[in-house]
């Protein structure tokens, strides 16, 4: 149990390959921080620097206020779950789970009790004598988790622990993970490229791209007020509609329809508009910002239909909207309302949020 701090962390493999650039953040006790970003954006590198498997080029890692840069991975009291699980193939499940404890010279009784507790929580009791080769993917994953849990570490690190599971199992284990780590006091740093995992598990999300921290906030903040165009398009599924538009006085033209800009925007000739498909809806009384177009694609997602609309007045302009599957609407001249409070505005050059 200890606060984890990263101060101005930079990692450069060479002049050109700099996967982590000047990253500063902190994770308090009981917090669950998720690092999310596209593949190759430096997430694993950050985790490896926290673990001590890689040395940062610049900056410091502090655990409980103590600079751990000079410490070897084994002396930092952290536990890490690898994407490949990294179970020792020549040891039984029991030995795998206990390996880290044995090295710390704990009493045998204590080790046994901890292994039993973890094995009960994760349902591994019938598997304790098996070798990893004789386990399914989901079972291996749970063994790797148990090996981390028994350690009682100061910090938990998890690198894409669900990405090797099939979709159904992933959802189940995700829920289990959430429960298990809610009972833990230590800070958790979780790496994923899957934004659903990031949104459902975390108390705090760090969106990374290109080695830079794009936004740090609660899942709700990230979703409701994305800090820039990248975060807006990366978080949320289906993806947000992002449309660069020319400005006409205090409004923009979306095909034939006019959309008013908020009053506090800086005076520039163009602007980027963003609206999530789930926020476009069939017009109700009182809606005054309406866009009209022809539907050219309907994708049935079960609970709702994802429709793609070609906007009247501009053939290159398409919008995607999520409509409840029980709603009735026509494919020709469909009208959709753009609620002003759900529209995001971004700067064309800096791509930063404006409203």
């Amino acid at each position: 149990m200890a606060k984890l701090e990263l101060q101005n962390l930079t990692k450069a493999y060479s002049q050109k390959i700099v996967p982590v650039k000047d990253l500063s953040l902190s994770v308090e006790d009981g917090e669950f921080l998720t690092l999310v970003g596209p593949s190759g954006c430096g997430k694993s590198t950050i985790l490896r620097m926290i673990a001590g498997l890689d040395q940062p080029t610049e900056g410091r890692v502090l655990i409980g206020g103590k600079d751990v840069n000079p410490l070897a991975p084994g002396d930092r009291n952290i536990a890490m779950v690898f994407q490949s699980y990294a179970l020792y193939p020549h040891m039984s499940v029991q030995q795998n789970i206990a390996s880290g404890l044995k090295l710390r010279n704990l009493a045998t009784g204590d080790i046994q009790k901890r292994v039993q507790d973890a094995s009960r929580v994760l349902g591994l009791d019938p598997l304790l004598d098996r070798r990893p080769a004789k386990l399914s993917g989901g079972q291996r994953q749970r063994v790797a988790l148990a090996r981390a849990l028994v350690r009682n570490p100061d910090v938990f690190l998890l690198d894409e622990p669900l990405s090797n599971l099939d979709a159904l199992l992933r959802e189940q284990v995700r829920a289990d993970l959430k429960q298990i780590f809610e009972d833990q006091q230590s800070p958790v740093v979780y790496v994923t490229h899957d934004q659903t995992e990031a949104m459902t598990l975390s108390s705090k999300v760090a969106v990374l791209s290109d080695g830079y921290l794009q936004q740090l906030g609660s899942p709700n903040e990230i979703y409701k007020t994305p800090a820039n165009r990248f975060v807006a398009s990366f978080i949320g599924s289906p993806q947000m509609n992002i449309i660069p538009l020319e400005r006409v006085n205090n409004a923009v033209l979306l095909g034939d329809s006019k959309v008013d800009l908020p009053t506090n925007l800086p005076a520039k000739s163009s602007v980027i508009m963003g609206i999530r498909p789930e926020h476009l809806r069939l017009p109700r009384e009182g809606d005054h910002q309406i866009v009209q177009g022809n539907v050219f694609l309907v994708e049935n997602l079960g609970m709702s239909d994802l429709i793609s609309l070609r906007v009247h007045g501009d053939d290159n302009l398409t919008l995607r909207a999520l409509l409840p599957s029980d709603a009735t609407w026509s494919r020709e001249n469909l009208k959709l309302a753009l609620p002003p409070e759900s529209i995001h505005w971004f700067d064309t050059e800096t791509e930063a949020r404006l409203n």
């Binding site: 890490m80 490949s84 990294a86 179970l87 880290g100 990893p132």
Partner: protein, 296 residues
């Protein structure tokens, strides 16, 4: 994966309407031919080694000796008169020590070449590869001078050192490619768990490396066990000779007699340890011990 023969319906495309399984018959014929072709010389040696001298030289050739044509004489002579146990011990000593040295020196080198970022790594690898291409006979001439200069003749070291050196490049190359395909996550995981480097190598890496160690070890052992030229030249004292040399120098009772029986017996005695070794370690060689450590 186990092979499963699926009950397939007869396909209309099959050319013959008869039910003779030509493919299977051909397959078994090919297998039988291969087995006989490779084992015939060995079986012939075994047969010769247990036939009486009269039966060996008899014309026509005796393929299936009767009870009165069988004898253990050749084997008994081998140990009574020729003191073959000394040569076996010499061979075993030289082969075992050079194999162990080879693995003990080669594996750490291979691990370093596979895992560390060493400046000039490609150069080192190139050099190692070139050594394997070096003609054996040229090495021999140089070594002869060295052995003479150091006074190492009739010393086990004169064989152990060259055998180790000759096998080292192959060991390094094979072990390096094995280490490269070992998942690095396992070593990282061990570090996070708190293993120090030595413990990690000994308790995590070594057990996973056993199959590769056994395979390369057996290759090195077979080379050392069978080597003739160095052994012939560097070991002149009777009590220091190895099996191949001793077998070649077996004499008949008269100068003009070729001692077929004792020769065959010595061949069998010399081959048996290798056969046992391979049979014993076969499971280890085949077994993929790393299976299941990471997602597979």
């Amino acid at each position: 994966m186990t092979t499963v023969t699926k009950p397939t319906a007869p396909t209309p495309s099959s050319t013959s309407d008869s039910s003779i399984p030509w493919k299977r018959i051909l397959l078994w014929l090919a297998i039988a031919f291969t087995v006989i072709f490779s084992l015939a010389p060995v079986l012939w040696q075994v047969l010769t080694s247990i036939k009486t001298n009269a039966a060996i030289t008899a014309d026509p050739t005796v393929y299936f000796p009767g009870l009165d044509q069988l004898t253990a004489r050749h084997y008994i002579d081998l140990f009574r008169e020729n003191q073959f146990q000394i040569y076996i011990i010499n061979s075993a000593l030289v082969s075992v020590i050079s194999t162990i040295l080879c693995l003990a020196l080669g594996s750490p080198a291979a691990y370093a070449l596979a895992r560390l970022r060493i400046p000039g790594e490609q150069l080192v690898l190139g050099a190692v590869l070139v050594v394997t291409l070096f003609p054996y006979i040229l090495l021999f001439l140089g070594l002869l001078e060295i052995v003479r200069a150091l006074g190492l003749a009739n010393n086990y070291l004169a064989l152990i050192v060259p055998y180790t050196a000759i096998n080292l490049p192959l060991t390094i190359l094979v072990m390096r490619s094995f280490f490269q395909q070992l998942p690095k996550d396992l070593e990282d995981s061990a570090k996070v768990d708190g293993y120090n480097t030595l413990q990690m190598l000994w308790q995590i890496v070594l057990p996973m490396t056993l199959p590769a160690l056994v395979t390369t070890g057996i290759l090195a052992f077979i080379f050392a066990w069978n080597e003739f030229l160095f052994a012939l030249t560097f070991m002149t004292r009777e009590s220091m000779k190895t099996i191949p040399v001793a077998a070649a120098q077996l004499g008949g009772t008269t100068l003009f007699e070729v001692p077929y029986g004792p020769l065959a017996a010595s061949t069998v005695v010399g081959t048996l340890p290798l056969v046992l070794l391979v049979l014993f370690f076969q499971r280890r060689i085949v077994q993929g011990l790393t299976a299941g450590s990471v997602k597979g």
